[in-house]
Subunit: 166 residues, 2 copies
Amino acid sequence: MSDAVDQILGQWARERPDVDAWPMGIVGRITRLSRLLDRELKDFFAGYGLEHWEFDVLATLRRSGPPYELTAGALNRAAMVTSGAITNRIDRLAAKGLVERVPDEEDRRSVRVRLTERGRTTVDEIVGPHVANEARLLASLGPDEREGLAVLLRGLLESLGDTSIR
Amino acid sequence: MSDAVDQILGQWARERPDVDAWPMGIVGRITRLSRLLDRELKDFFAGYGLEHWEFDVLATLRRSGPPYELTAGALNRAAMVTSGAITNRIDRLAAKGLVERVPDEEDRRSVRVRLTERGRTTVDEIVGPHVANEARLLASLGPDEREGLAVLLRGLLESLGDTSIR
DNA sequence: ATTGATAATCTCAACGTTGAGATAACAACA
DNA sequence: TGTTGTTATCTCAACGTTGAGATTATCAAT
């Protein structure tokens, strides 16, 4: 069998036989998978009236444990977006009543973002179905393949310095 | 060793022990890798005065072989973006003199987008260094790991229907 | 030839992110 | 105490994508 990336590699081999394009077999597939999975997740969350990024922020707060609050900076790093994007996201989640800004008494530069009761129940209701949906998307992988893939991806992430959510 | 995703999985295991979040170990890593690699590629292309998407379009035309032209729709599907985005990209590449729109005589609904001479030399000069740069990013993988990872990712892509660039 | 369905591209307003700069607060130290 | 450097967040204009709709062309069937 072959996928879209095999065809791309075949084209390069024909047009530029002097270049060994093997890295595209990894990078290209990661990029395409990310896009495809993103579309699927978008559709899934739309069924709950949520944007993907909304769930992402809420879930980050939820899994941090009680009192379900993090600084804007921590959310920032977790989401891998810029500070401007996080300010915007917090604004909109706060407008929807899913999070609230709490002044940080220890460090007045910081803003703590806290899940509201509604925000917490929202995540808690969706996380189960969400994981089930992801499992469905990965259903073609057997148990050993899952593990092997996770190990390889982890090694790559580590080598690129992604070793901590801070 | 552990990466950022291991920490996320650990948080879920603590907060929601009833949910087995293993799929996040795959989906989360693919998403994070995609973002990290994207940043690296962005920096790389900036060194050549190009945007990542610019190289992407030019390379798609180049690897299709002489006469280095494709319809807007084909570029569209290859880039996995919407039609509006491709119209915009072609406009800007044409303004830079890297591609040109050629009317399709067979099907007057179609527009053929052709690499200009400057566009072709641009890709041909950069593709070698680009692949070398990607190889650098993947340097932590041994030969067997590269192959194993490519096989697993291909299987996943196939199962999600990404079997053709059309 | 006409009709209806399908297809390719373009248009454009809404949306979200980026990235640089502004503001305010903290930290270290002379 | 004042100074310098660093950190956290917010601001905002520029940029690019999305997605629905408009336009024009092709195809199939009658």
